[in-house]
């Protein structure tokens, strides 16, 4: 990988790779600190997708992309802790695999730059109709969040874990903020983002770094303004006593989320050991939770983890029968205690090391995952490459793993309790 500064705060991460039939190019605007405004950022993503000056509707743009052998453009933003990433990415077939003398790279990139620099506007701001339409869509998606039980339960648990912090605050008031947003306010956010958000550019393909650099330096001139520093997420202390919440929902399966806090994030010295904690505890079919809570005790079909590497939050969620709530919670906490006391076999540790190292090796085969790896590293200030992390993992001792596990503190427990309809009415 070659990392080139195009302008202070604007970097090109160039990966020469000839193995794929596609090439991919992306620009990621990093909205943190004063630019972290969840409602404006998520609305912006949606409004930008409605059209550009040259292709004023989604259908026209979709048609233009199909003409380029289904070139794919991605502009859906996402949160990473207390940072919003606004990506503009394009993947397109390499010309040599296409029939005739087709050239798609240049044209596909031009379409992408339309989204970045020439969104569809009316009277110098976003079109009112597009803004209102996307507000309604966002609000409806909020209503429909409960339809995905597991994600909804994890979100609620996260809100408990970081209550009072920007991540929870923005999430909780999202509905209110969305309703307040106007075409002008979102457009103002867009111009601020172009002006001051740092930009991380990733390229995977055949084009040389030098050629791409020259192209981008000319193309990105409008972005060459002083950029903000990336604001790192704050890591808060766990509560003295775990907080519990329960919400009732009509359905067949309950979801139990046990939320932990840890001071370990990706740039921590103990991160390699913490990767092993997660792998041994829950990340694989030989993990303690899979083999004991699912296979031996038969308490759930899934017990899956989510780690928020910028916030030091770790959530374990399990789909359970509600009568097994206490048993599952106890079984999960028992396995966490085993981790803390180093009660896991040397063989399990070695297998988990191999598995993690292999996952890191396999990153190389997937440009999207590789980009994600480096981007998260940039957000947390971690400069380790996958190979360097692999080396650290292989050198980690069992005691270091137990020490890393001991940083986990149960902070919040959320139960999305499935009940039959008549019960829900009584309990609500």
């Amino acid at each position: 990988m070659e990392r080139i500064v195009l302008y202070p705060g604007i970097h090109l991460n160039h990966f020469k790779d000839t193995r794929f039939k596609y090439e991919s190019f992306s620009m990621n605007f990093i909205c943190s600190g004063p630019l972290y405004d969840l409602a404006s950022a998520s609305l912006l993503s949606a409004i930008l997708g409605c059209g550009t000056a040259n292709h004023p509707t989604d259908a026209e743009m979709a048609g233009a992309l199909l003409d380029l052998y289904s070139a794919g453009i991605g502009i859906r933003g996402y949160s990473e802790g207390e940072t919003f990433i606004q990506p503009f990415s394009v993947t397109s077939c390499k010309d040599r695999y296409l029939p005739g003398k087709t050239t798609v790279r240049t044209q596909a990139r031009e379409l992408l730059f339309e989204y970045v620099f020439s969104p569809y506007t009316e009277g110098g701001i976003f079109k009112k109709e597009y803004t209102e339409q996307q507000k309604r869509n966002k609000l409806d998606l909020l209503i429909a969040e409960k339809d995905n039980r597991q994600l909804y339960a994890i979100k609620k648990c996260c809100q408990m874990l970081c209550a009072g912090e920007p991540m929870a605050a923005f999430s909780e008031r999202l509905e209110k903020d969305l309703k307040k947003a106007t075409p002008r306010s979102v457009f103002s956010f867009y111009t601020s983002m172009l002006e001051s958000a740092p930009v991380e550019i990733f390229y995977f393909g055949d084009q040389s770094a030098e050629e791409l650099k020259d192209f981008l330096c000319a193309k990105l001139l409008p972005l060459f303004h002083p950029k903000q520093e990336i604001t790192r997420d704050q890591i808060s202390l766990p509560k003295n006593m775990p907080q519990r919440k329960r919400e009732y929902i009509r359905g067949n399966q309950s979801v139990l989320c046990v939320g932990f806090k840890t001071p370990i994030t990706r740039n921590d010295e103990r991160y390699a050991a913490f990767c092993l904690v997660r792998e041994i505890l829950c990340d694989s079919p030989i993990s303690l939770l899979f083999t004991n809570v699912r296979e031996k005790l038969g308490l759930c079909y899934y017990c899956s983890p989510v780690f928020f590497p910028t916030k030091g939050m770790y959530v374990l969620s399990a789909g359970i029968d509600k009568k097994n709530t206490e048993a599952t919670e106890n079984a999960i906490l028992l396995e966490v205690e085993r981790m803390k006391s180093g009660d896991f076999s040397a063989e399990l540790l070695e297998s988990c090391k191999k598995s993690l190292v292999n996952v890191l090796k396999e990153l190389d085969d997937n440009p999207a995952q590789k980009e994600d790896w480096y981007l998260r590293g940039i957000l947390t200030g971690d400069t380790l490459s996958p190979t360097e992390l692999s080396e650290k993992i292989m050198k980690t001792a069992a005691e270091e793993v137990a020490n890393a596990a001991r940083t986990l503190t149960v902070d919040s427990i959320f139960l999305l309790c499935a009940v039959k309809e008549h019960q829900k009415e009584v309990l609500s």
Binding site: Y22, D67, Y69, S284, P285, K354, E362
Partner: protein, 439 residues
């Protein structure tokens, strides 16, 4: 082993297909990726739980194929196959579909060791009634999870409305009742019937030594093939050509109304090439109807009648044939009014030339994408071999389709008796409707 190596100059890819003396079909493709990926497909999915094999009728409880998949990684030595895989650093998984059950692994090194683990595990099943019973609670939790998933319930309701009594509409996992009926004995019976080398395909892509792979297969597989597994899904008649219901409303645990459209295709005894052509013709019809650049969906987006990205899928093989479209929808009645207009227009006037050309480009790009990973390649070759398709002919097949051929298919497929329109409303709407009826 007999073998055939194919080079595809358009996409610069090469693979070798071999038939092992045991009857196992093997596809090998060396790729310059860190990850090697193997998938072993067994020709036993939920469709075959009621079938005739070599003339004899077998009926297994619904969900047997899926349950068997859950039990295949147990071993006589008491050690889980996942643990064996982990020693070589492999990630393993399995899944069950209507036609096949697939077991897979991926890893960067020691591919041959992992292959040996996989083959040993699949060739020597071990489970007791006790272990079968303890698995039931896990499978039932899995079933409950799917029952809470709106996408899953809407799809099931649509297929049920289209096919009623045919196995195509059965849930792959079965039901709580059928899962409770599964025994170790019935699992062994299904295993002995279907888990024979001649009913399996192994597809391996990535870095490996071909000689070593062959040595492992020679060592582990029987020297001569078992009787071929000639399967017929029961009931024996072909899938119907008309939907059981053309319009249906269901009430689900959802927040926003949903709509689904099912378009019934035709299965039947056609040659592989004809089937591939038919599949891509259906894909082009689906594209003309449902792509974001098309008149129908772009109109829905513009008028804010659907909230997010709709999805659609085309299935056409020897056993199933349909196009399915699903989306949330704010006004289902208006949605179907517009759909009917669009379907009628395509049926009578044909697909616009521009949509047709764009659709072909999209299909070719999808085909090309398979070669971006060992996983994509392995699955592509596996499914083509099960379908007896020649992967090398795919690109040519897409570009050789004429607008006239596709329009002829559209006239057949978009007739009203092949269309099923499903509206899924929330349970609150059901209660409100009941209250109004009562008043």
């Amino acid at each position: 082993m007999t073998n055939r190596t194919v080079y595809m100059p358009d996409v610069d890819e090469r693979y070798t297909v071999m038939t092992h003396r045991s009857g196992l079909t093997v596809c090998l493709s060396n790729k310059d990726f860190n990850t090697s990926y193997a998938v072993l497909g067994v020709g036993f999915g939920s469709l075959f739980e009621n079938c005739a094999v070599n003339g004899k009728v077998y009926t297994f409880p619904d969900g047997t194929a899926h349950f068997l998949e859950h039990k295949m990684f147990e071993n006589p030595d008491g050690e889980d196959t996942f643990l064996k895989f982990s020693r070589v650093g492999a990630e393993a998984n399995a899944y069950t579909g209507p036609e096949q059950t697939c077991y897979l692994f991926s890893l960067p090194d020691h591919t041959e060791d992992a292959l040996e683990i996989l083959m040993k595990s699949i060739l020597s099943p071990f489970f007791t009634q006790k272990s079968v019973n303890s698995e039931k609670s896990i499978v039932i939790e899995e079933l409950k999870m799917y029952r809470d998933d709106p996408e899953e319930t809407v799809r099931n309701a649509l297929l049920h409305a289209m096919y009623k009594n045919n196995r195509v509409q059965k849930n792959i996992c079965g039901t709580v009742t059928s899962v409770k009926r599964i025994t170790a004995e019935s699992l062994f019976e299904a295993y002995n019937l279907f888990y024979t080398p001649s009913n399996m395909v192994l597809s391996l892509c990535g870095k490996f030594d071909k000689e070593k792979v062959c040595t492992i297969l020679d060592r582990l597989l029987p020297a001569c093939p078992a009787a071929p597994c000639a399967k017929t899904v029961l009931p024996k008649e072909h899938l119907p050509c008309r939907c059981f219901k053309n319009r249906v409303t269901v009430y689900e645990n959802i927040s926003i109304p949903a709509v689904a459209v099912g378009i019934m295709g035709t299965t039947g005894k056609t040659g592989a090439e004809e089937r591939l052509k038919r599949f891509y013709a259906m894909c082009l019809i689906a594209h003309a109807l449902f792509s974001r650049s098309g008149e129908f969906v772009s109109g829905l987006v513009k008028d804010n009648l659907i909230p997010d990205d709709p999805s659609y899928e085309t299935v056409h093989n020897a056993y199933r044939s349909y196009i399915v479209f699903e989306s949330s929808a704010y006004d289902p009645k208006e949605f179907f009014r517009r759909f009917d207009l669009c379907a009628r227009k395509i049926r009578t006037e044909g697909i616009a030339k521009l949509d047709f050309e764009r659709g072909k480009k999209a299909l070719y790009a999808d085909f090309l994408e398979n070669f971006n990973s060992s996983e994509g390649c392995a699955h592509l070759y596996l499914s083509d071999l099960f379908e007896e398709l020649d992967t090398a002919k795919t690109g040519r097949c897409i570009f050789s389709l004429s607008l006239e051929e596709v329009n002829a298919s559209a006239r057949e497929l978009l007739s009203d008796d092949r269309l099923c329109r499903l509206t899924a409303l929330s349970l609150e709407q059901k209660k409100s409707k009941e209250r109004n009826t009562f008043k």
